[in-house]
Symmetry: C2
Subunit: 419 residues, 2 copies
């Protein structure tokens, strides 16, 4: 937060023009001037810089408005790449995306959470190098790594302020250490905030929208984006929706709060519920020890989709609880859109979308002012990893700092492994 | 939200420099250049403009850092004024403030809520004219009126989107109508958002802070300010904390949501509770019909302060409920400060401050990242009206748009009446 209120505007302006081209997909210099409020000569100069760096290319001509048809500008997707690494309690996802935010490679594996950080991070680095080799991306065009995980975090120091998955991770400098091993810039951010900004870069939301993302994997996180910027608050530990109270008289949570959403609506809570009804546990062959509860949650979600009379109410109840929290963030942040992202929405996403939409329509305070849509993320289970990579593109490019070089597009690889 | 991402920077820069002088109270041109990141010649030019408009004056010399001691710059408090009008269900408060945000006149009265808007607004206009005459402020120096009330609102059209106090107010163009009668610009905003920004202008919060305001009068509202800007969201209907659910299984509220904070912690809820214990109702001479519940709430709060064995637990319970909501906004907006403002905190403010601080310390998710302080507003019961006037100063001056003229300061008047 401690930035001076006035900054040199040049890189910001260049970054904003780049972002307009990205958002428009295809736009003329005249349209750029109109939508940026900048003069045509300024636009021409900035576009020239962006073309010299290979970030923007001319692509055909638009419709004539009298004179000669204007030349259209587009992003050059293969000009830059970035890597997104999502560190979850149970799985790790690595993606490589191009400048347009499209995934050119993906790998996922389990087990890092069981390792201490001094073993996990060299392993992660090896995986990042392997996937970059697999798609033959020129390292000079890789802007960096976006490492995303749950909160709380010290984003600037690159530390996790949480003892999860194990106490060894608390206060461990994950981002500086990974950067050191990889020899590449690494930024740390919240997985749900990343998932939220990913939607913006991919152009699936109105650039002026104030929208929220509910991210459900092992836990439940949230992110809010206003006019293309992640809402940060005091220390970037915002929108911790999984640990807001939906029941002031509820049980105490390990976080210190009481009646936390996660303990009512999260996968572990749903599985716990399911195990209390032995009939269901046997029919769906759930693990009574609940060790692999994400796997069991997926079985319950699948049964709910199929209309199973005991499974369906469990998922519907989880959706109603999420709906209560969705109403809270909508009424507090005045959102016009809520995006549902993360692996735990994959199977029964349509049930969640329908019921959360119902709750928001019925209960949001400012529903007279404007409607609020509830939609699934375009990136689904990989939303956080893709968002992490997008945060690198956004911080490197729309802030106006770029590297030189340009070249051919790499192939697309898909790797999935388990350790 | 639909503004172009890049705007001409000149007025913004001038506004930012003005805001730095305001925040610093006394600052040299050299210090301005350092903290703004602008060049000394740019600063000199902008300061010259601000002095020509009479907004800024030279005031003595600072400490020498080798050469000749630098000339210090300060705001000229009597250069401009603005009016704040708070329209509440039960009372109306009008204040006149100077450029420094200091109150130079105040009047309050009851009864407007019982009038239809076509009678209430001409009456309000007459009161505004009367108070401006009473303090003999040059009309040319009055930048406008900030009309603040509860939400939801259409801030841009100047409409209330609420059927309170009566159905006639729903969709009534209160701001355009008042502007027409007064012949003065009138902006409409949320009372709690206004109370929040008032603290910033008065210089009682860190300019980089992300802080929230809980405003309790008849109802409970909220506002969040990040680095000196009110958080707006999609339509400026944000932080409606009174209508977030603290009990997912609670009763339905007239707003459509269930388990709303206001019905647990608000003055009416506390009085309702008190009336269930007849002993207390008689001892404190509460009105069984609960018609003047704000008056009865004040009696209960006073008894709680005095340690009354039945009254104290009622206020403490209200404070715990507010604490639950304070934890929610702190964990969602990642706040470092919570300001308690509004008339319903006046009597038992210290009980509320202590217990809300306890809840926040114990339950906020990111408490490892930074502490969160709970403090009373410097403007107390008038926070919303003063904040409304501040919003006028901020929108007219820190956006760089100003009027000419300057002159002597008016006297201070204090009027209180009832109709």
């Amino acid at each position: 937060m401690a930035t001076s209120p006035v900054r040199s505007n040049r890189p910001k302006t260049r970054g904003a023009v780049f972002d307009l081209i990205r958002a428009a997909r295809s736009i003329s210099r005249v349209e750029l001037a109109a939508s940026s409020g900048l003069t045509p000569p300024t636009i021409s100069g900035l576009v020239r810089d962006l073309m010299i760096e290979g970030l923007v290319v001319e692509a055909g001509r638009g419709v004539s408005t009298g004179g000669k048809p204007p030349t259209l500008l587009q992003l050059n997707p293969s000009a830059r790449y970035s890597v997104g690494v999502q560190l979850e309690r149970n799985t790790c996802v690595i993606v490589v995306i191009d400048l347009a935010g499209h995934r050119v490679a993906r790998t996922s594996f389990r087990g890092t959470a069981q390792m201490p950080p001094e073993h996990a991070l060299p392993f992660l680095a090896a995986q990042v190098n392997a996937i970059l080799d697999a798609v033959a991306v020129d390292r000079g065009k890789v802007l960096g790594v976006g490492l995303v995980s749950y909160g709380p975090q010290d984003r600037h120091a690159g530390l996790l302020l949480s003892p999860q998955p194990t106490g060894e991770w608390l206060d461990y400098p994950v981002a500086p250490r990974l950067a050191e091993i990889l020899g590449m810039p690494v930024l740390l951010d919240n997985d749900a905030a990343a998932a939220a900004i990913g939607e913006y870069w991919l152009g699936t939301v109105d650039p002026c929208s104030a929208y929220g993302c509910i991210y459900m994997a092992t836990g439940i996180g949230g992110g809010v984006v206003v006019a293309g910027e992640v809402y940060r608050g005091s220390s970037s530990n915002s929108v911790e929706i999984g640990h807001i109270s939906i029941d002031v008289h509820g049980d105490e949570c390990s976080c210190g709060n009481r009646g936390c959403l996660e303990n009512y609506a999260g996968p572990a809570a749903v599985v716990r519920q399911a195990l209390t009804g032995p009939g269901l546990a046997e029919q769906l062959a759930l693990d009574p020890a609940g060790t692999d509860f994400l796997h069991d949650f997926a079985r319950i979600a699948a049964a709910a989709n199929a209309g199973h009379p005991q499974a369906r109410p469990l998922i519907e109840q989880s959706a109603r609880y999420l709906g209560c929290a969705a109403v809270t963030i909508t009424s507090l942040f005045d959102l016009d859109l809520i995006v549902l992202a993360g692996p735990s929405f994959t199977v029964a996403g349509s049930i969640y979308q329908t019921l959360i939409q119902q709750e928001v329509d019925r209960r949001t305070f400012a529903r007279r002012a404007h409607p609020v849509r509830v939609v699934p993320s375009v990136s689904g289970p990989d939303a956080a990893a893709i968002g992490g990579a997008v945060l690198v593109l956004q911080s490197e490019l729309t802030a106006g700092r770029t590297r030189a070089q340009d070249g051919a597009a790499p192939g697309v690889a898909e790797v999935t492994q388990s350790i």
